[in-house]
């Protein structure tokens, strides 16, 4: 089992690298297009993956990952299951502000409430932020992409006044105390 680690490579100058993990491989491509085309100031690399662990063959060409985003499509139970099994292959060093969850379909009437709850519980227990996004419209994709961009800039150390840990302390997902007992 190859754990993905955050600090085994040197950072490159003025570069941020983001890893999008999504079982369905739909939303990630849309996001990636917006991210790379929007950002002009710094060099942003996007790596797309279906699951973790990542193939060992790519280990050399893969840059240092500054932010791992788990995309969960709440419409499909499988999306949640795949994320849950992927997350085990992540080094604990990432959980200091270098992981975030992005869910889609949260407001869809046909979605079981349990799924969103599961993601929230997981995000809260790992002290990570959870973002809700809308993947059907270009505005929705753009909004989500820009939010990820601003997070990755911080976690790549490109924002002078902020650190990843500081940001995640502010944005991490929380649950009301009574739900933890469930």
């Amino acid at each position: 089992m190859a754990l993905l680690t955050p600090f085994n490579k040197m950072p490159e100058l003025n570069t941020a690298n983001i890893l999008l993990v999504e079982n369905e491989e739909q939303f990630q491509t849309k996001l990636a297009d917006v991210i790379v085309n929007y950002e002009k100031q710094i060099n942003v690399n996007v790596r797309l993956a279906r699951k973790l662990p990542l193939p060992i063959e790519n280990a050399d060409t893969r840059p240092r990952i500054d932010l791992v985003v788990f995309i969960v499509n709440l419409i499909y139970e499988r999306s949640l299951q795949a994320m849950e099994s992927s997350i085990k292959h992540l080094d604990s060093g990432f959980f200091v502000g270098k992981v975030c969850f992005l869910v889609t379909g949260a407001r869809c009437g046909s979605v079981s409430h349990e799924r969103l709850l599961s993601v929230r519980k997981l995000a809260a227990s790992l002290h990570c932020p959870m973002l809700c996004a809308e993947d059907q419209t270009t505005e929705g994709v753009r909004a989500a992409a820009l939010r990820l961009l601003s997070i990755v800039k911080v976690s790549a150390g490109l924002v002078p006044t902020a650190t990843a840990l500081y940001l995640s302390a502010l944005t991490r997902c929380t649950l009301p105390a009574e739900l933890d007992q469930d």
């Binding site: 499988r78 046909s110 409430h113 809700c132 739900l179």
Partner: protein, 351 residues
């Protein structure tokens, strides 16, 4: 804090709702929210266990003729917000109003697919006995009959549309919290031309200042139904359990899995811990049952059914479709199914 405490202990379905300040009651309640999206302030307590289905001869309590009406048809479900100033004593007046409303709309050119030269007659009636608790309002049954404008003497008016508003085992805390002028009949079942459904809905919305939206049955509800029906097998032969999934391939792939009733019951029986005191079914057991079926399927076809959507659950006792269509074929389990659906409708209430 007390209300929530009891919700945790009680095995039956519980919903803790937080109402807006103007309703005066619960602004002091602890923030028991974990379902919160901007613009939609519904706070939902998802039930994690419920009573197992019990066969009951409902015709002892409810007029058999009325029961026959409910069992016969396939119903499209909607959820309705509490009705303002609805009175069970004024049903005759409502009948007249709705008839007049439909005729007026028709004259304005709203297409009603029944034929041009017809008149409509609406009847409202109560179905006594369906309500299970003190708080449940009695079920209201609506029928629309049509007859030709120039009817012959022997012509019997034909039922072209029927629908009913019901509440069975609605969350008592929620129902008690309603202001006195409101009656909650959250589940609205309709059968008939879509145009008439739309007319009736808009009349309800105007007359009782409520809101009707179609109700989608998500996989959790369908899973519950699959399990509740399967659990009935020793008492009533369910003949089969059929589950239909749709996978989002291109073109889309429909998978139907029809299981032998005895085998599926044995699977359930091996998962379900029967409590002699109160026979409750937990959500965890439901999930294990469904995962058990899905993994058996996976071992054969290597297809992840969870990558798709559960569309329909059916047994000889009834069927339920993701798009909100249900059929109850066996009257003995009407209370069980309606309890589940009422709860599902209440979960959708916006505040």
């Amino acid at each position: 804090m007390e209300g929530r405490g009891s919700a945790v202990k009680t095995p039956a379905s519980r919903i803790v709702k937080r109402r807006s300040k103007s309703y005066g009651r619960s602004c002091v309640e602890p923030p028991s929210q974990f379902w919160y999206t901007p613009g939609q302030l519904t706070i939902v307590r998802i039930p994690t266990s419920r009573e197992a289905a019990k066969s009951r001869n409902i015709t002892e309590k409810v007029d058999p003729e009325k029961v026959a009406l409910l069992v016969k048809n396939e119903w499209k479900l909607s959820h309705v917000t509490p009705l303002y100033r609805f009175r069970h004593t004024q049903l005759k007046q409502y009948s007249r109003h709705l008839s007049a409303f439909i005729m007026a709309e028709k004259q304005q050119g709203v297409a009603v697919e029944v034929g041009p030269e017809t008149t409509f007659k609406v009847t409202f009636s109560t179905v006594l006995g369906l309500a299970e608790t003190e708080e449940d309002a009695e079920t209201v049954f609506i029928q629309i009959h049509s007859k030709p404008m120039f009817a012959a003497a022997g012509d019997v008016p034909k039922v072209v549309w029927s629908g009913w508003l019901t509440c069975v085992n609605g969350d008592p805390e929620y129902l008690r919290s309603l202001p006195p002028d409101f009656v909650s009949l959250p589940l609205f079942c309709t059968n008939g031309p879509e145009a008439l459904t739309t007319l009736v809905k808009s009349w309800l919305e105007r007359t009782f200042d409520c809101n009707c939206r179609s109700l989608i049955l998500n996989s959790t509800i369908l899973n519950w139904l699959a399990v509740l029906w399967t659990g009935c097998h020793p008492t009533t032969d369910i003949r089969y359990l059929k589950l239909d999934w749709t996978l989002p391939t291109d073109p889309s792939l429909d998978i139907s899995y029809r299981l032998s009733p005895q085998d599926v019951w044995e699977l359930w029986n091996s998962i379900h811990q029967e409590d002699s005191a109160d026979d409750t079914v937990s959500l965890e057991e439901v999930n294990r049952f469904m995962t058990g079926l899905e993994s058996h399927f996976f071992r054969h076809f290597r297809i992840y059914l969870s990558a798709g959507t559960l569309m329909k659950v059916s047994t000889s006792l009834g069927s339920a479709h993701h798009n909100g269509k249900i059929k109850i074929a066996c009257s003995n389990y009407i209370p069980t199914v309606l309890t589940l659906l009422t709860e599902c409708a209440i979960l959708r209430m916006p505040i």
